[in-house]
Amino acid sequence: MNIYYEGVLASTGINILLALSAYTILATNRLSLGNAGFMAIGAYVSSYLTVNVGWPLFPSIAVAGAAPALIALAIGRPVLRLQGIYFVMVTLAFGEVTRTFFQNFEPTGGAYGMRGMSGVTIEMIYAFVAAFVLLYVAFDRSRAARLTYTLRDDDEAARSIGIDVVAVRLIAFAWGALVAGIAGALFAHYALYIESGNFNFLISASAVLFVILGGVQTFWGAIIGAVVLTLLPEALRFLDAWRLSAYGAILVAMMVLRPEGILTRTLLRRLRRLSPR
């Protein structure tokens, strides 16, 4: 495959995982702008394990998922108590603190970054994407999925029917961190080189943008948003200098024309009815 197209395809796959991570947290009515921090932890932990400790790839990827999830569990209780803009600010700060930590942390290369990782192919990225999509499909069909919808809508009503909103939200936060961590590990071992700047605030923001433009009501919206928004700038390359302006204009137009996102639950239900069984 052409190296350029492969690179675009790889970042599409990574972005799908990042969008799913943002979606999971957003689905419990919390907007996190710190998921790049979880991604960084996954990237650096797995890289350290494979390069410095000599671990094989897959156990390292597993730990790259577990480490940010544990951190999310540890910080989640007080942080998830915050709502709206306060939660946004705290997660944003978390992402930036994590990034500057790795910028200065010598054992993982500090400002020089890390190299020497390898072993993740484009096929492997999409194997992970496929595995996670299957997990999300399975979860969406479970009875537990309905319980999580109540958190998006009304905490007080959810509590009144016995739903432990604190616990459900904490689990979702940790799961979102896990998915971001794995995305980070795949990224590190595909890109072969990482530095703290790879995990800046814009990564967190675009993950949220994928979800909002794709549609916040179902995880398919997050996936579609990630695909469309990763491919769009590439498709606009023929515009040269006008590329970014056109990209911005299209985003604005999409938000104005369809504020609820590309895919909604109602649209999904209609599509299901159309498809023959």
């Binding site: 399975a138 009875r143 919808y149 998006r152 009304d154 007080e156 029917i161 432990d164 639950r265």
Partner: protein, 251 residues
């Protein structure tokens, strides 16, 4: 016998305002008790204390003899005390039937059990039970609609059905007739009669006096946070303090 619910000297202060002032009463299983009082008397606050939304500033709450004033709303619901809201609070992304299906998990085994696809036989039983509840509140034909698209009266009935779906032993209804037209109020009255026949225990806050006098076996009267009277509907109707409170409120 220990009462189903007992309040001992319960107070709630918001800053300088005492919204509930040293209230004591108890409710026996199977009773349908009315709680009346002018606007701002503290009825909703009292509900929020029982439901675990507020901690009482003072006093004790006992459910079957156990102290429950430290429990959060989810734990209270799991103990079998369900409530509706004076300002309707439905889930905007869920259908009518889904409201009941989520509420049914209240007394269940929690999120992990709900994740297990092997426990699917339970799902069919639950759907059947949910449809029966929808029949009770007259919403069986609208089970697939998004709940917040229902007309107002239907939304109120769905709130009651959702509370019932948690299999409660005590039901707290906060002004279920508010905003209903006459036919809808008659429907509500028939529903309350049906619930009473099924031996639900209910604490009913309501302004519609005709309704309260008809369905309740006992009535509590709250004014400025204080319990000023308690008794059978016939006694309450002629109680001078109650008449005074209501005339005072209307004047």
């Amino acid at each position: 016998m220990t009462p189903l619910l007992e309040l001992r000297n319960v107070s709630k202060r918001f800053g300088g305002l005492t919204a509930v002032d040293a209230v004591s009463f108890s409710i026996e299983a199977g009773e349908l008790v009315g709680l009346i009082g002018p606007n701002g008397a503290g009825k909703t606050t009292l509900f929020n204390i029982i439901a675990g939304v507020y901690r009482p500033s003072q006093g004790q709450l006992l459910h079957r003899g156990d102290a429950i004033s430290m429990l959060d709303p989810a734990r209270i619901a799991k103990r079998g005390i369900a409530r509706t809201f004076q300002n309707i609070r439905l889930f905007q992304s869920l259908t009518v039937l889904e409201h009941l299906l989520v509420a049914q998990t209240c007394r269940g085994l929690g999120l992990l059990a709900e994740l297990n696809p092997l426990v699917s036989g339970a799902e069919r039983t639950r759907r059947k039970a949910a449809m029966e509840l929808l029949e009770l509140v007259g919403l069986e034909n609208r089970h697939d609609e998004i709940a917040i698209h229902l007309p107002y009266g239907a939304q109120r009935r769905l709130e009651i059905a959702r509370a019932l779906a948690t299999s409660p032993e005590l039901l707290l209804l906060d002004e279920p007739a508010a905003g209903l037209n006459d036919t809808e109020t008659v429907g509500l009255r028939e529903m309350l009669d049906a619930l009473r026949a099924q031996h639900y225990t209910i604490l009913l806050v309501e302004h519609d006096m005709k309704l309260v006098m008809r369905v309740c076996s006992r009535i509590l009267v709250l004014e400025f946070g204080k319990l000023i009277a308690s008794g059978a509907p016939a006694e309450i109707q002629v109680n001078p303090e109650v008449i005074n409170a209501y005339l005072g409120a209307e004047a």
